[in-house]
Amino acid sequence: MKKGLCSFLILLLAVTLLAGLVTGCSSSTTASKEQVITIGVDTPLTGGAAPWGLSEMHGVTLAADDFNSAGGLTIGDTHYTLKVEALDDAYDTAKATNNINQMAYTDGVKFMFTFQTEGSLALAPTLTNMKILNFTVVNDDRIIAQPADAYTYRTYMGFSVQANDYLAWMKKTYPNDKSIAVLTTNDTNGNVTEASTKAAAAAAGLTYLAPVFYDTGTADFSPFVTKILNEKPDIILTIGDPTGDVGLIAKTLNGMGFKGIHATGIVGAADLLKIAGQAPIEGMLTLNMPLIPGGQVSSAVLGLPAREVAHSGSAWGTAYCCTWDFYSEAGIMFDAMKQAKSVDPTVVKAKIDQSGAKFNYAAINNGIATFGSPASNAIFGANGGHQVTNSWPIDIIKNGKDTIGTIITPK
Amino acid sequence: MLLGVKDLKVNYKKVEAVKGVSFSVDEGTLVSIIGANGAGKSTILKTLSGLLRATSGEIWFGDKRIDKTAVDKIVKMGIAQVPAGRRIFPQLSVLENLQAGAYTISKRSEVNALLAEVYQHFPRMKERLNQRAGSLSGGEQQMLAIGRAMMTKPKLLVMDEPSLGLSPIMVNEIGSIIKTMKEAGRTILLVEQNAKLALKLADHTYVLELGKVVLEGKSEDIMNNPIVKKAYLGATESS
């Protein structure tokens, strides 16, 4: 009977190795004049946050493809192209920490994108010490409150930066809705949502009701929805919650007769539709960019869904909601490399830190991203330069589809 | 000859517990195997039921060789065991225990007839049909175990230490039940540490020591054998 266990363990090993092969094997080809730079991405490719992570993997990869097909970067006699290595952290701190360590120490990655809050926070000092340039989308403002020489930048308009404009727009657009309550995860991400909303509600003149926190991995939201509905809020904010959760919350809110506004973050109508159905998501507010021609949406991001579908590979073949966002963020990094004419993270960082530097923000026609702005400097002081500033959309779901509410251009 | 065992050798927990044992049981007789603890009695019975496999030797039931046959097939062929320590299903009711015994019998009328027969031998069971078997007294549990074995409609009833752990009064009661069953024409193989009880009931007796048959014969002859008297019936002599 020992043989049975042995062969089972071998099978287990084989499958694990196979899984490793599929998700992220890297090899670098070194030619005398051809050099491949590995761009490391740590992001959730599975679980409720997978729509974001898969979007990030797609967006960064397509931006790298565009960088390469536009000729890459030639410095002296060396021609540089980019290659993306994406690891799955399943939105889990331990896995994220492990992945970032692996990319930094084992794989020698010099340019990185991270996603998971606690993992990114924990390893930010390490990345600075190792001089690894990191773009992150962590909502927690502590990611910006690093030493001034930190190598980590937030290339997404964190909710603390967006909250004032988001809530002010709601107040203006829906003048009859007067109170707001937050339903969010019981983690640092949720704490940021709560604190930012509280401040922005006061600024916008909305009544701020007690927030409700839930555990990640919740399958039945009825108790939490019951609790929040008991406060009778006009607006329920689920910003920062994973797509799967937002879908289930929308379904439960609808089931319990909520008639107010359900506002969330960068979540695609198509994904919500699959989880919740059409009625529960009608009228929801998101921060997703509706990819419809016309207006300020650039043709570059309009073409992304078709490219995602046409791309070969196991994690492709589907267009995700927020690929446009990550595509644009990666574009900032790659534009900075081009402007700095360097693949040395320290030199690229110096370009980013340069006062008045402007980078291409691909999502918007003639879009510009800067680091630091009057608004972010007001919040983060000397560290304001670690926060990106760019235009961002507010989206209203109508008939199960994303439509533009407005595009906010920060001052 | 209903059961024939030829030169049986069995390993139990890597030790040769049965070292070439032969015995037979004729139809309508009560044969007993007596021996001290560790003599190999239970190992023989486990092999007989198919729970253990012989390293060599043959077991014949009627004209069929059964030493490679599966446990459930052996039961269907007609060998029922009352295992040592009774091994009733404690969480099941008395009736359910009896029904479990009739697992191989699909005809309802046949099951009912068997139940009636069991009630006849054990009127006490009928009173406790819906009681949880685990709550019965030791003697009642032994009766249930025997009744359960009878429910398999056996040609040969094998009993492993039915007197174990029972009070002297209960031992006598079980003894008289076995006697009645024998008188009703059942073929029984009785394995006992209680030599006095076994010799009193059996037609033919085998004495087992350290995995070997050291003595066999008619029970009354064995009873009068001085060695047996000294080793197995000593207590009765001194009292």
Partner: protein, 284 residues
């Protein structure tokens, strides 16, 4: 306190979710004395079948449970013949570890085949029903009806049929059961098929109120074990009682204690086990 009625309604449907998940788990744990860490993946495969049949192929919902039962039963039989039967005499740890590994294999396989995105499955029923001040979402109705139906069928099967009797006998004494002429190997397969069917139906019903993903089952597993242990290992009425207790504790805890509810729920289970180590309905 007008919401208390709503909390009770929530608790009811939450309880049935736990019960649905726990019955098959307790059946296997009770009979084989082994933890099946891959049980969540059995449920997940039921969800995948629902996704393929209802969301992908557009077939009627009623096809899903039957297809799911066939697929999951086949997986169950593979587990029995590949892991549990060959390892039956080697204690609880080795087969438990093997199921742990299998759970990872199944998650990875589904991840490779279907990707990590949440796969949406339409609800069986939609809309809501208002009872006084409380809302009852209609998509929970199939869970409640299906849950009670399955518990009843399982109870009747185990208590009233000959095979059910054999399963209970097997649970208590395998050798003694064999001595009654029961074919242990084939009865074990029956147990797996029954547990697999329960998991499959649970997968269909649970995915109808949520979504399908490779890790959907493992999320329920901890609560499932909690229900099984609290109710009493192997006890079907225990799974019923345990599911209701945990459902109510969770519903009230999450509503009134919010994020401390996990701690509260497990502290409650510890308390139950201190007072009754054999579980609420367990027998010593």
């Amino acid at each position: 306190m007008a919401q208390i009625f709503q909390v009770i309604v929530n608790a009811l449907s939450l309880s049935l979710i736990y019960i649905l998940f726990a019955t098959g788990l307790t059946l296997i744990m009770g009979i084989f004395d082994v933890c099946n860490f891959a049980y969540g993946e059995f449920v997940m495969v039921g969800g995948i079948a629902t996704y393929l049949i209802v969301a992908k192929s557009g077939l009627p919902y009623i096809v899903a449970p039957f297809a799911a039962m066939i697929i999951v039963s086949l997986i169950g039989i593979i587990f029995e013949k590949g892991i549990f039967y060959p390892m039956r005499n080697r204690g609880g740890l080795e087969p438990a570890l093997a199921t742990f590994g299998s759970s990872t294999i199944m998650q990875t396989a589904v991840l490779i085949l279907f990707g990590g995105m949440p796969l949406g499955v339409p609800s069986i029923m939609s809309g809501q029903f208002k009872i006084g001040s409380a809302y009852f979402p209609m998509d929970r109705l199939p869970i409640i009806i299906g849950g009670f139906l399955m518990i009843t069928l399982l109870f009747l099967f185990v208590q009233k049929t000959k095979l059910g009797l054999a399963i209970r006998a097997l649970q208590q004494d395998q050798d003694a059961a064999a001595l009654q002429g029961m074919n242990i190997a084939s009865i074990r397969v029956v147990v797996w098929v029954v547990a697999s069917c329960l998991a499959a139906v649970a997968g269909v019903l649970l995915s109808s109120i949520s979504y399908v993903s490779p890790t959907m089952g493992s999320g329920y597993l901890l609560k499932g074990f909690a229900v099984v242990i609290m109710g009493g290992l192997g006890s079907i009425p225990g799974a019923l009682v345990g599911g209701f207790v945990l459902g109510f504790v969770d519903s009230f805890g999450q509503t009134y204690l919010g994020s401390y509810s996990y701690m509260f729920a497990f502290a409650f289970i510890m308390l139950v086990l201190i007072v009754r180590p054999q579980g609420l309905m367990g027998k010593r």
